[in-house]
């Protein structure tokens, strides 16, 4: 048992990323606040990155995983920028970023 716990293997990192992923998903699902959702998204992206780096370190042996992680980070940045711009836009339009209020696109 301690062998499993002590020598850090791939599974440990996957577990950590899983937990972060689940928390991120939870945050996305339950937040009423637009920015809260963006936070959740960031968490999800980070968990994905952990997996990338873990696999790159343990399994692949080359730099693909890390390169991908960097791309993910870069895209996360772009996404955050746009997301926040939209949130600002919503805020200026609806004077609130509570997604409950922002339902004018209702079917």
């Amino acid at each position: 048992m301690d062998g499993l716990l002590l020598d850090i293997g791939l599974r440990h990192f996957l577990f950590v990323s899983l937990i972060v992923f689940v928390l991120g998903l939870y945050c996305v699902l339950t937040r009423k606040n637009a920015i809260g959702i963006l936070l959740g998204v960031e968490l999800i992206l980070n968990s994905a990155n952990i997996n990338y780096i873990a696999f790159s370190h343990f399994s692949s042996g080359n730099y693909d995983g890390q390169v991908f992680a960097i791309f993910v980070i870069m895209l996360a940045a772009a996404e955050a920028v746009i997301g926040l711009a939209i949130v600002l836009g919503i805020y200026q339009n609806f004077s609130s970023i509570d997604i409950e209020a922002v339902d004018s696109l209702q079917g």
Binding site: T30, A34, E100, D103, G107
Partner: protein, 723 residues
């Protein structure tokens, strides 16, 4: 004969009258306004006069040549040069055409002078002279044509002018119908003529020895036609017959003579010129010109001869019963033409041409005489209203009398020599039966001519008072041509005195080079010739005596003749053997019937088909429309409605609330990704099912808490209200 002397003045013979026609035709109205009617007549007469002078010049130039060399040629311009057909516009004068142009221009000129007086008070004066000039030009083209095609042009031109002149007073319906009738009948004949030309051309082409339309060359090449068969008939015979059909049309022989009597509706000088002297002789001239073709097929000659004789007889009989002064002369022309055709038929081309010449003189004189009578009688043409005009119109009477004697065939005058020549040649040519017909016809001719003289000039005047006072002799411009023609009638005969009577038959010799192929040289005199001569004079005398008895002495009443055979023959003769009616019944009605049939057919069958197709299309269209409307539109609309319904139902989940969307996404992923992946063991599927249940319940539960009422979401009116 085949080394033509090239000259360049022949063209003017044709061009002068043509020029005159153009001037009068185009500027006629203006000239008449400006210079009055004399301007018109000056132009017309000078045109014909110049043509006559040039014709004389050509004639004398011919006489200066050696008989074999008598051939003047004037090529104007290249006309049709297509493949094997080489046709030029070229005018040629040889003894035959030389004679003809003299007749045309001479007698034409006299008639121009005469019509100055006759048409004096007619408003369309310029149009009349334009037509006359045009006619003269066309006739000269026909006569001077060097080849068949150019002759055909002249042939048609003449037909056109006759139509124009017959229907000159176009205001009356009768004149126009007469004009039409003449034109149509001529056209039938012309059709035959063209067929003849084509047959000659193609058969020569088939024979492969090159083709030409020039009479001179045709003469040499025509023997190649012997072996040719066209439609199972020897080419030569067929061509000849077709040409003969054209001739009958133009020269008013048996089948196609009906237009000539009606043509009298035109002014009298027209009748005189066209329907006595020139146009009607065109057929005889054509056959004379094509003598080498006809001599190739004895069958054709036989047909020609019989048709000629029959025409002579039939026309004569009809002439007996006519009361219209011009109708009598018309039928006498037809019968005289019959003699000419008979002459051609028996191969006596020379005699035929001789008779043609003499007939031109006295027939023209007769017509012009009747013209002056009608002129005097105030356009009255019925002989029963005339009589005793001898004192009032001595000149007209004497010229009329001379011409009548000439036509009757009394010796010293022209008629006897030419008619007798034909009869003798018919008899000696081995056609005794035809001679008999001719012989009888001659008698009848004498009878009806003198009947006319006695009715018109002797006895008491049956005209009404009004016309009586006005009776006067025609003005000199009309009477002088009559005198010239009468002199012509007197002396024309001496040109062709037969050797039997000590004459040297100048005309025969004159035409001899042209008909080199002919077989007319019977120099040895036979007794039988004298016998026939005496017989013909006798029959003439009998005819004259009968006429004298009936019409001058009134001792013999006409009933004796009319009652013969129950009056049927008289009725038949009086009504012209009902030929018009027959034609009307058969040809005209036939054509009408055929046209009606065609229109009926067209109306019913074709229209029916077309309308049918239209109806069917309409029907099909309607069917397709219905199909499209109900089935396809139905489908489409149905689909639209279905989609709309589904869309409406699914609209509910678009609550506009972001987290709901995320739930749906995550739920969907969870269900779709994990459900199939999980292994087959029992525990996990249970969890899966439980999970999806929970999801659905959760969403439903959650939705219920939302402020959207149930009513809005699921009931119909709610949805409509929402929308």
């Amino acid at each position: 004969m085949d080394h033509p002397l090239l000259v360049s003045y022949l063209r003017w013979i044709v061009l002068f009258p043509l020029l005159g026609a153009v001037i009068n035709g185009v500027f006629g109205a203006k000239i008449q306004e400006r210079f009055g009617k004399n301007g018109i007549s000056v132009v017309a007469c000078t045109a014909v006069g110049l043509a006559f002078i040039f014709a004389l010049r050509a004639f004398f130039q011919l006489t200066s040549l050696v008989p074999e060399e008598r051939y003047l040629l004037d090529t104007l311009l290249r006309w049709i040069h297509i493949g094997a057909l080489q046709v030029d516009i070229a005018f040629a004068v040889d003894p035959l055409s030389g004679l003809m142009i003299l007749i045309v221009t001479g007698i034409g000129g006299l008639i121009h002078l005469y019509s100055i007086g006759y048409m004096h008070d007619d408003e369309a004066y310029w149009r009349f002279f334009a037509y006359l000039n045009l006619f003269t030009a066309a006739m000269l083209t026909l006569v001077l044509a060097d080849n068949l095609v150019l002759m055909f042009v002249g042939w048609e031109g003449v037909g056109l002018c006759s139509y124009g002149l017959i229907g000159f007073w176009y205001k009356e319906q009768a004149n126009t119908t007469a004009g039409n009738k003449a034109f149509i009948v001529n056209r039938i004949g012309d059709a035959g003529f063209t067929l003849g030309i084509f047959i000659i051309f193609w058969s020569l082409f088939e024979a492969g020895h090159g083709t030409t339309a020039v009479f001179r060359d045709l003469g040499h090449l025509i023997h190649h036609l012997e072996g040719q068969m066209v439609w199972g008939v020897p080419a030569a015979t067929l061509a000849a017959l077709c040409l003969f059909v054209g001739a009958t049309g133009k020269s008013a022989q048996i089948p196609l003579y009906v237009w000539l009597p009606d043509a009298m509706a035109g002014p009298t000088p027209v009748s005189a010129l066209i329907h006595a002297a020139t146009m009607v002789t065109a057929g005889v001239y054509m056959m004379a010109r094509m003598h080498f073709l006809f001599s190739l097929s004895p069958v054709a000659l036989g047909v020609v001869a019989t048709v000629g004789a029959l025409t002579a007889l039939v026309a004569a009989t009809i002439g007996l019963a006519q009361f219209d002064i011009k109708k009598v002369l018309a039928y006498s022309t037809v019968s005289q033409l019959g003699y000419m055709v008979l002459g051609v038929g028996v191969g006596a081309y020379g005699a035929a041409v001789f008779h043609l010449m003499t007939h031109a003189f006295f027939k023209a004189c007769l017509f012009l005489g009747s013209g002056s009578v009608i002129h005097a009688m105030g356009d009255e043409q019925d002989m029963r209203k005339m009589g005793g005009l001898r004192e009032k119109m001595p000149l007209t009477f004497w010229t009329f009398l001379i011409s009548t004697i000439a036509i009757a065939g009394i010796p010293p005058l022209a008629g006897f020599f030419s008619k007798d020549e034909i009869l003798w040649l018919t008899f000696s040519g081995g056609h005794p039966f035809l001679w008999l017909i001719g012989f009888v016809a001659a008698g009848m001719t004498a009878f009806y001519m003198f009947r006319q003289v006695f009715m018109v000039f002797f006895g008491e005047n049956r005209a009404d008072e009004h016309t009586k006072e006005h009776l006067h002799e025609s003005p000199p411009v009309m009477t002088y041509p009559l005198i010239v023609l009468a002199v012509g009638a007197l002396f024309a005969g001496f040109l062709g005195v037969p050797p039997a009577l000590g004459g040297s038959n100048i005309l025969e010799h004159w035409l001899e080079p042209v008909f080199a192929g002919g077989h007319a040289a019977h120099h040895h005199v036979e007794v039988i010739e004298y016998v026939l001569m005496v017989a013909s004079v006798g029959i003439a005398a009998v005819g004259i005596f009968l006429a004298y008895l009936i019409y001058y002495r009134r001792s013999l009443s006409t009933e004796t003749f009319t009652a013969v055979g129950g009056g049927v023959p008289y009725q038949a003769v009086f009504n012209k053997y009902y030929v018009d009616e027959f034609y009307h019944a058969t040809a005209v009605r036939g054509t009408l019937l055929v046209s009606w049939l065609c229109s009926a057919f067209d109306r019913n069958v074709i229209d029916f088909i077309v309308n049918g197709v239209a109806k069917v299309t309409g029907l099909v269209g309607w069917a397709v429309g219905r199909f499209d409307h109900y089935i396809i539109d139905g489908l489409v609309n149905g689909l639209a409605d279905v989609t709309f319904g589904i869309g409406n139902r699914l609209r509910q989940i678009q609550t506009g609330n972001l987290s709901i969307y995320l739930y749906v996404i995550v739920g969907a992923i969870a269900v779709s990704q994990f459900l199939p992946r999980v292994g087959a063991d029992i525990l996990l599927p249970v969890v899966m099912v439980f999970l999806s249940l929970v999801i659905v319940v959760g969403i439903a539960l959650w939705l219920s808490t939302r402020r959207i009422q149930w009513r809005l979401m699921f009931t119909k009116e709610g949805v409509s209200e929402l929308r």
